[in-house]
Each structure stands twice: as structure tokens, then as C-alpha cells.
Subunit: 166 residues, 2 copies
């Protein structure tokens, strides 16, 4: 049984972790033009150190471990349930703030909190959250879609469909 100091966890996450908000198609979310925000917290590690990731499940009280991809020897500890992010991950890193990933975490926490309040179901707020998400992880350079592809599409749909009252 490993025993981690919380600051060790922060340092390790600053090296091997990632706060990200991906944006996926979901035709059922009409108010945002069929786009859905999916915040996820990851920590990567080779399978030889699986025990370290298992200990992170204990430390955070949530999360799952799986292979990064088919046949990959790299594992990810991942938390994507909104309640877990809000109740466990965000409070942990508010108490023990990241150094390298401080900006990403601040945006991540803002998006998670907004989603818990269901702000993201109102189009104006969704647009704002998408813009915030695109500032993360080196200004979204790794994203497959431009921000215009997301917002133009959603804007049109949003104009066609009445906004839900949340």
C-alpha cells in the first residue's frame, strides 16, 4: 500500500495528468446544436506502475483505470462523471493547486461548476464554455474541429429550436 502526500499527487499530476474538456456530437442535446461538453481528468502511466494509479483511485475516491487504447501498455486513471469531478477532483485541486497546469485546472473547474448548475444547457452559456474549453491545453491545438465548426452549427440549431427553461 503506497501512502501519498497530497503535494506528491499534485506534482505527479502536473507531470502526467491532464484536465480536458472534449466536445462531442450528441443529437439529443438540441439546445446546443447537438454538441455536448465532456470534462475529463486523466493521469497516464505505464502499466508497470498500475499500483500508482490504483492508489489514485483511493486518494480521490473515484475514477477508473483502463488501457489508453487497444493493446496499449499505457494505462489511464480517468474521472469523467460530473458528480465525481465536482465532489472529489475539483475540491482536491482547489485545496492543493497545480503549478504547471494551474490555468487548465482553473478553466476546468469553472466548466464543471457551470455544468453542475446546468448553465451549459442555455446556448449563451454553452458558447462561453466552449470558448473557455478552447483556451485549455495550449489553446486547443490538439482539437480536430475549429471552434467555428462547433459554434456556427450550434448557433443555427439554437435559433431553430426554442431555448429550454432550466
Amino acid at each position: 500500500m503506497l501512502d501519498f502526500d497530497p503535494w506528491w499527487v499534485v506534482g505527479f499530476v502536473d507531470g502526467e495528468g491532464c484536465f480536458s474538456v472534449s466536445i462531442h456530437r450528441n443529437a439529443f442535446v438540441r439546445s446546443t446544436g447537438g454538441w455536448q461538453l465532456l470534462p475529463v481528468f486523466h493521469v497516464y502511466q505505464h502499466q508497470r506502475y498500475r499500483e500508482v494509479l490504483e492508489q489514485l483511485v483511493e486518494v480521490f475516491g473515484c475514477g477508473r483505470i483502463r488501457a489508453k487504447g487497444p493493446g496499449s501498455r499505457v494505462l489511464t486513471f480517468a474521472v469523467n462523471a460530473l458528480a465525481d469531478l465536482n465532489d472529489h477532483i475539483v475540491p482536491f485541486f482547489e485545496r492543493y493547486p497545480p503549478v504547471v497546469k494551474s490555468n487548465d485546472f482553473a478553466v476546468f473547474a469553472e466548466i464543471v461548476r457551470a455544468m453542475v448548475r446546468k448553465d451549459h444547457l442555455r446556448y449563451e452559456c454553452f458558447e462561453n464554455l466552449v470558448r473557455l474549453a478552447y483556451t485549455m491545453n495550449f489553446a486547443g491545438k490538439q482539437r480536430s474541429r475549429t471552434i467555428e465548426e462547433i459554434l456556427t452549427g450550434s448557433s443555427e440549431t439554437a435559433r431553430q429550436a426554442p431555448l429550454p427553461i432550466v
Copy 2:
């Protein structure tokens, strides 16, 4: 000015750091067949977080920052002076032990201490230290030479030349 908890440093090094002992040709070291052990402690980081590496210079009281390679945007904080490794790096991680890199550090510290005592200038000890070095970082899979290339060559030379009295 960043202010790092020592355990943050350990966590970050467990993610982004490396304890390694490379083995280079040096024709002047006759007692070991012209091979030289070079222990080095590295921490890697993108140049956008140069400030973090600069803070490590403060934390450890030694080390230099440079590009990982020509034109690279990745920087390394590196400590390779034996006195700095012995006086600063090894004591720090003995006080705050690494988790993921615990085995590598234990071997690294043993080699550094032996070199400070100049044990490595005796062939029998040099051979032992090379074998130890080859257990590091996933059993030396990244090394360009086999252990036999190092030890066979040095053994022949060592038999030809008298061992120095250290």
C-alpha cells in the same frame, strides 16, 4: 516566484524526471578499459514552463537549464557534477523518496556514492556499477550498447594494465 512543497517536487520528478547513468568512451580512464560512468539527473519540461525548471535550480541549489536538443522546445534541468549529485540531489531524494522512480533512484544513489569514494576506478567495482546501471530505466532497453560490449572490452584492458591503488 513559485513556492514548491518538497513532495510536489518528488511527484513532478516521478512524472517528468529521470535518474540515469550513461556509459561513455574516455580513453584516459585506463583502469576501466576506456569507459566512464556519467550519472545525470534530468527533469524535462516544455519551454513555456521554464519558470518551473528555474525554480528547481533554487530548490536543489544546483543544476543547469538548456534545450533538450538543437531547436527543441523542450528544456532539461540537468545536474551532472558528481559533487552536486552527492551533496544536493541524493540527500534530497533520500529525505523525500520517489515513488515511481524509487528503484532507479536507489541504484543512482549507490553509484554516485561509490564514485565519490572512487570505487569505480577499481575494475571489479566498475563492473559491478555497470551491471547496476544496466538495471535502471527498464533494464537498460534504451541503451545503444550491450553490457557485454562494455565489460568485455574493459576486462581485456584491465587485464593488460595494472589496477591503480586508490
